[in-house]
C-alpha cells in the first residue's frame, strides 16, 4: 500500500478545512459540501484512499465540466408506504441520500422493510458509507447502483454492464457494523487505469480486448471490456443490479449513460436503490449473527470490514493518513 510514496498524518479538522475550502471554491453549495466532506473524511479515516480526499481533485474536475448541478436541491417524494423517491436533480447522490435518510428509516420502522430510489444523480462515492449510516441507526441495508458501460456479460464481448457495486451492512451490538462493498466486475476500472498508466499487465480473468479475446494487457482491456467476477454468477448479479437500480426505479441502464471521457454524448447521471430492513420488526436472533462472525474469524478468515475498522481506530487516535503528494496538491487547491 505504501509503495515508494511517503505519507503523513493530519488532524481530521485540518482535512475538513481543506475539503470545505476546495469544494466551496469548486462551486458546490454548502449542503453538498457538508455531506461530501463527511463522506471523504470517513473514507480517508478508513484508508480507502481511492474514495477519500483524492476525490477532492476529481470532484473539482467534474465541477469544472458543468455536467453536475453543484447547487441542486434534492426533491423528496413520499412515493408509497414503503418507498421513498429522492430526485437528485442532477446533483451528487450523497445529498439526496442524506436528505432521504429520516423518511427512509421512518418507513422501515413502520413497515419492516423500505426502499429508497435515488434518481438523476451523479455518483462518485462508495456505497459502504451509505449502508453504514443506516446500520449505525440499527438497520440492515443493501445498496446497488449501475455505473457506465465497462463490463461484458459472461459469454459476451461488448462492454454493457457497469462495474455495478453492491454494498451490504449489518448492525452489531458493539457499534461497528459488518459491511461489504464491492464491484461486480472482476476488478475495479480504476485499478486497470492505474496499471495502464504504469505500463503493468493484468491478472488473467480480468478483461477482454475489443475483439472479445482474453487479455492481460491493460491498454487492450481499456479499449475492450472488463469481465464480471465469478463467471456467469457474477454476471447474473450484475444484471440484477442493472434491472433493480435502473428500469425498476425508472432510471438509466449503464449502457444509457457515459462517464466523462468516454467520448459519448450520453449523460453521466443514473439511479441508485437502497433497501432497508428493520431487524426489530423481523424477529431477529442477534446472538446468532455474532456466532457467525466468530466462526468466520476463529478459523483465520477475515470479515470484509476488519481492515477498514482497524484503520479507523488508528486514524481517530493519530489523525488521517494522507500521501504527501496528495496533500501538496490539496494545499495548492485550497
Amino acid at each position: 500500500m505504501m509503495n515508494s510514496k511517503t505519507y503523513e498524518r493530519i488532524t481530521r479538522q485540518r482535512a475538513a478545512d481543506l475539503a470545505a475550502a476546495i469544494l466551496t471554491k469548486a462551486g458546490f453549495s454548502a449542503a453538498h459540501v457538508s455531506v461530501m466532506a463527511q463522506n471523504m473524511l470517513d473514507a480517508q479515516a478508513q484508508e480507502c484512499h481511492s474514495h477519500g480526499l483524492y476525490r477532492l481533485i476529481t470532484c473539482s474536475d467534474m465541477a469544472a465540466t458543468g455536467l453536475v448541478n453543484l447547487t441542486a436541491e434534492p426533491k423528496l417524494t413520499d412515493h408509497a408506504p414503503a418507498i421513498v423517491k429522492a430526485d437528485a436533480q442532477g446533483g451528487n447522490s450523497l445529498l439526496a441520500f442524506d436528505t432521504a435518510l429520516d423518511m427512509l428509516t421512518g418507513k422501515a420502522s413502520d413497515s419492516g422493510i423500505a426502499a429508497l430510489a435515488i434518481n438523476n444523480c451523479f455518483h462518485y462515492s462508495a456505497l459502504w458509507w451509505e449502508v453504514e449510516q443506516l446500520s449505525k441507526r440499527g438497520f440492515v441495508a443493501l445498496a446497488m447502483t449501475p455505473t457506465h458501460p465497462y463490463v461484458a456479460p459472461f459469454g459476451g464481448k461488448e462492454p454493457l454492464f457497469g462495474t455495478n457495486p453492491l454494498a451490504f451492512s449489518w448492525p452489531r451490538p458493539e457499534g461497528e457494523p459488518y459491511t461489504f462493498d464491492f464491484a461486480t466486475s472482476a476488478a475495479a476500472r480504476g485499478e486497470v487505469e492505474i496499471r495502464s498508466r504504469r505500463g503493468e499487465s493484468l491478472p488473467a480473468g480480468w478483461a477482454i480486448d475489443k475483439d472479445g479475446n482474453p487479455t492481460t494487457e491493460s491498454e487492450r482491456a481499456l479499449s475492450g471490456a472488463l469481465l464480471p467476477f465469478g463467471g456467469h454468477k457474477g454476471s447474473a448479479i450484475s444484471t440484477m443490479i442493472e434491472l433493480m437500480a435502473g428500469p425498476l426505479i425508472g432510471d438509466m441502464l449503464s449502457s444509457q449513460t457515459s462517464a466523462p471521457g468516454m467520448n459519448s454524448d450520453k449523460g453521466i447521471l443514473h439511479g441508485e436503490l437502497v433497501i432497508v430492513f428493520d431487524p426489530k420488526r423481523f424477529g431477529i436472533s442477534p446472538d446468532s449473527a455474532e456466532t457467525l462472525f466468530r466462526q468466520i474469524t476463529d478459523q483465520g478468515a477475515r470479515l470484509p470490514s476488519q481492515r477498514r475498522r482497524a484503520a479507523r481506530l488508528q486514524s481517530e487516535k493519530d489523525g488521517l493518513l494522507v500521501s504527501s503528494e496528495l496533500l501538496a496538491d490539496l494545499n495548492r487547491m485550497a
Copy 2:
C-alpha cells in the same frame, strides 16, 4: 446431459399421477402433495433433473426418517405492514410459501416492497420456482436460504456456510420471466457427490480438504469443505444470505443445522427469506429492461433462463423428458 442414459417422454398427466401416488404413499398430506408435485413437474418440464421427479425418491426417503412433519399446516402471521411470517411447523417449505403468496403480494402491492420470512421449514426445492411464481403475478422477487455447513469462508478452512442459493426473477411482458438461481458455493454439493460416486476428480477452485489445502479429489472434498464462488466476493454474499435468511428472521445459521447423513444430532430445519417488489409502485421503465436483455443476447451471451425456457416449450409440446432408469424406479414406487 444425456450421457449413456436413455430418456423417454411421458405426458404431464402421467407424471402428475406418479407424483401424487408416491408422495401420498410416503405420507404427505394432500395440501403438501399438491404443491410439491407442481414444483417437481415444473422442474422436470424445464429439464432441471436434479429438482424434478428425482425428488420423489429423496422426499420419500426423507419422509421415512420421520424428520419432516408430512402433514404440517403452515401458520401465517400478518407480522408487520410489509412482513409476512409463515411458520412451516416442521414441514416442507413449499406449502408455507404457497399459503403466504396472496398475503405477500397484497402487501407488496400496498407498500411497494414486502418480505416473506418462512421459518422452521425443510428445504428440498430450487428457489427459482418460487420467485417465478411471483414474477408470473407481475412482481420482481429475490429469495435466499441457508442450507447446511458445507462451505468454508474465503480464507478459512472449516465448513461453515451452506451452499446458500440466491434466486431472482423479473417479469417480462411476453410472460416468460428473466430468472436466475445459483448456489453461492463454487459448485453444488450434489455435483461433488456424483463425481465422488463415479471416482471423478474436481476442477481446481471447488474445494479444500479437511486440513484446508486445495484439493481436486472429490472424496477429500466431501470430508473437507467446498469453496465459495468468486473468492471473497462470493464469500461475502454467502455471509449476507446466512444473516438475512437466518438471524434476521429469527431462524438458524447453516452451522446450527445438519443434513440427514451429516452424522450430527442437529435439526434439519431452517428459514428462508423472500423479498418482493411491485414494479408498478416504483416507476418502472419496462422498455429499458427489454433493451438490456436484447443487448445481452445480441452479443452472443445467454440469459440464465434461456435453456430452461427452451426445454419447457419442448416439454409442453412433446411431454416431459425422464430418464428410463428413473421412470422404472418411480413406476415401482407408485
